[in-house]
């Protein structure tokens, strides 16, 4: 197979014809690249729906009082927006799409360790999504609890909670399956010569993420199961009338859901750690520090869940402990920021679309991170808890962090995935519109939160009108930017220029294979002798 003539005739993974035809060649494929794209397409559809829900909420908030929807519709909109964005897009997002596609390529393997389990995890994902979304269409109206399903409201409300909670429970299995698969793949299938300290940083980030997925998801699984039992059988775990404790629900929920924030952000940091050295044409500064801080975030991230509950009622000792731990977890994140910036120092930077996404990531992630410190401080938190400030903060982290990294990764690896290049001009225009819209949308919400506007309200007093108009205008701008970006990418998949194997002069293993890669990824398993970002 080492013969280059034969190599050129190997069909790539998009053209490969297997046992099944048409759509079945995709939905029954165990090829990690096709599964990655299945996830990508499913998520783009769901993301568009959830983004439109967000836009509609912002239009509702453009003026006080009822604008386009009533209070109950608004409640169900923010619930569905949250469930879809968190459980269906941001938590599985980067690992399921880019992890699946690029983990084997980056460590020089032909596939993940358990390809069938990988396909099963996509099917479970689709099942979970269908069950969760079915809550909208039958029963006594769409859920209205918000994505956190707080007890006791989640089993008292008359709305259709059962499918939403069950769907989130099912999605946990998909997440666990992907996590187990990646851990085993990284332990067992690295190319010869790729020691742990020669592994690129995106696989490192996936490794930490996978451990969180495996160790944290079961707790939320059983907690959601308890909500299901509570609703169906009156079991009383979280029902004060029967002796249960609703605060215990919050603890169990956040024991998972705070580490889940790191499931969202660690792979995003991994993507940025790939993009920056490639376009800086320089070895990443402090490779080992980034690896250690990745693991540190995953570890410390387990012990900070209480900062979601500062106003719920906890002992003083618990409050101080959770607050100080929250400050500690910022240190490894800051180390990474400094390392990325130091990598750019005296580099000959090639400014391309993915690099611009990475720069924008740094900007919004810093705002998100620093506003997180404000919320981690006990006194400030009491004032800002459940206000628009919190909404702005986590959109800067989750959308600004993970979302920017997702689009950055899409623009970075697009030529490898589809073998074609998108229109760079339109991509940059789209980014500029999106970035302007994003900041116009969320920055006023910091201010609104500080002057006291609560989150999850469809109405507000006249004093809040001005910043809300700005914010709603920003939402429209941001959605226009997204339309430009996605249209450009979809169009270019068929009509874009043919891309070369290594358009960005990247040094990691995925750039050594053809674009798009062949079914088996590599004609010969590569032997690794150098560090991942060797530009000397």
């Amino acid at each position: 197979m080492s013969d280059t003539v034969i190599q050129n005739h190997e069909p790539n993974y998009l053209e490969y014809k297997g046992r099944y035809k048409g759509i079945f060649a995709w939905i029954f494929s165990t090829d990690h690249k096709r599964i990655g794209l299945l996830y990508l397409y499913s998520m783009l559809v769901l993301f568009s729906v959830a983004a439109i829900l967000g836009l509609l909420m912002k239009i509702e908030l453009i003026a006080p009082g009822k604008t386009i929807m009533d209070a109950q519709t608004y409640n169900s909109f923010f619930t569905l927006h949250g469930i879809t964005m968190i459980f269906l897009i941001v938590v599985p997002g980067l690992p399921a799409v880019f992890g699946n596609f690029f983990l084997p390529l980056m460590i020089g393997a032909k596939d993940v360790a358990f390809p069938k389990l990988n396909l099963l995890s996509w099917w479970i994902y689709i099942l979970g999504a269908a069950v969760a979304l079915s809550s909208q269409f039958f029963g006594d109206g769409p859920p209205d609890t918000g994505w956190t399903f707080y007890a006791p409201y989640s089993f008292r409300t008359g709305t259709n909670m059962l499918p939403a909670v069950t769907g989130a429970f099912i999605l946990g299995f998909s997440s666990i399956a992907t996590g187990i698969n990646f851990i085993v793949t990284i332990h067992r299938m690295r190319a010869p010569g790729m020691t742990w300290m020669k592994m690129p940083l995106f696989p490192w980030a996936l490794y930490s993420t996978s451990w969180i997925q495996v160790l944290a998801t079961p707790i939320v699984g059983v907690t959601l199961l308890m909500i299901v039992l509570e609703r169906t059988m009156q079991i009383g775990f979280f029902d004060p009338a029967l002796g249960g404790d609703p605060i215990l629900y919050q603890h169990l929920f956040w024991i998972y859901s705070h580490p889940a924030v790191y499931i969202m952000i660690l792979p995003a940091m991994g993507v940025i750690s790939e993009i920056i050295p490639t376009f800086a044409r320089k070895t990443i500064f402090g490779y080992k520090a980034i690896v250690v801080s990745t693991l540190a975030i995953a570890f410390v991230g387990y012990f900070v869940w209480g900062h979601h509950m500062f106003t719920s009622g906890m002992s003083g000792t618990a409050l101080y402990t959770f607050s100080i731990l929250t400050f500690l977890v910022a240190i490894p994140s800051a180390i990474k920021i400094f390392n990325w910036v130091a990598t750019l120092h005296k580099a000959s930077i090639d400014i391309q679309t993915p690099f611009l996404w990475a720069l924008c990531f740094l900007f919004v992630f810093m705002i998100g991170g620093l506003s997180g410190m404000v919320l981690g401080a006990l006194s400030a938190n009491v004032h800002l808890h459940d206000t628009a400030f919190v909404v702005a903060h986590f959109h800067f982290i989750v959308f600004g962090g993970t979302g920017y990294a997702f689009f950055g990764a899409l623009h970075y690896w697009y030529p490898k995935m589809f073998g074609r290049m998108y229109d760079k001009g339109w991509a940059n225009i789209g980014l500029a519109v999106f970035f302007t819209g994003f900041n116009t949308l969320y920055l006023p919400m910091f201010y609104l939160g500080m002057i006291g506007m609560p989150r999850r309200y469809y109405d507000y007093v006249e004093e809040f009108h001005g910043p809300n108009i700005v914010s709603s205008f920003g939402a429209m701008l941001m959605i226009s930017g997204l339309v430009i970006i996605i249209t450009n990418l979809v169009r270019s998949a068929r009509k874009g220029e043919i891309a070369e194997a290594d358009p960005w002069k990247g040094k990691t293993l995925e750039w050594t294979t053809a674009s798009p890669p062949t079914l088996e990824n590599f004609d010969e398993i590569p032997i690794v002798t150098k560090l991942p970002y060797d530009y000397e």
């Binding site: 332990h187 079961p218 707790i219 059983v222």
Partner: protein, 204 residues
């Protein structure tokens, strides 16, 4: 390293076992959530938990513990016998494991139906009149032993599937990782019961 092994047919016994162990961790954590809830409510309601636990039949619980321990032994023995190339004995021992699991479930059925006929089940009028601690105790009792029983059923299905592979000679003395994995899973089911038994039946 095994990196060249997967060029044709990927087979990595070590990897499969790592995967199974990771899955077992997730199962332990799944029950871990319930154990936390149990300990919190036991701490709040020591008196009521004591009274409620005396309602449970220690004899049935002990019998079921012995049954599960023996079944763990038979599945472990089946893994040894496949290595000695004794297919028949392997199948007998696996069948015995499934039989013991069935006996466990029958006991469980009588235990539960006994409780239910006394009007003790979640949401029942009798239980709603009891103290809050007792409501929580029996809620936990049904949730935890119920989830455990579900795991017994999954374990039996897994072992039955592997039995079919043994019959078809797809699991043999040089290729028995899946049998080992089904054994690991069965030990997990056993292990969880080892914790459930004292928590509900013995500590009174």
């Amino acid at each position: 390293m095994s990196n060249y092994a997967h060029i044709d047919e990927h087979r990595d016994d070590e990897g499969a076992k790592i995967g199974m162990w990771l899955f077992i961790f997730t199962e332990l954590l799944l029950f871990g959530g319930l154990f936390i809830v149990y300990s919190v409510y036991r701490y709040i309601n020591p008196e009521a938990f004591h009274l409620a636990a005396e309602e449970l039949d220690t004899f049935t619980g002990t019998v079921n513990t012995v049954i599960l321990l023996v079944s763990s032994m038979t599945i472990a023995m089946s893994i040894s016998s496949i290595q000695y190339k004794n297919k028949k004995l392997t199948l007998i021992l696996m069948g015995l494991t499934i039989l013991l699991a069935a006996v466990f479930m029958v006991n469980k059925y009588f235990e539960w139906s006994g409780k239910i006929s006394h009007g003790i089940y979640p949401g029942s009028p009798t239980l709603m009149e009891a103290s809050q601690g007792e409501i929580l105790f029996f809620g936990l009792y049904y949730a935890m032993t119920g989830l455990h029983a579900l795991h017994i059923i999954i374990g039996v299905a897994f072992i039955a599937y592997v039995m079919r592979l043994v019959v078809k000679n797809e699991v043999q003395h040089d290729n028995f990782t899946i049998l080992e994995n089904s054994g690991l899973y069965w030990h997990l089911v056993d292990l969880i019961w080892i914790f459930l038994f004292p928590l509900f039946y013995l500590i009174t």
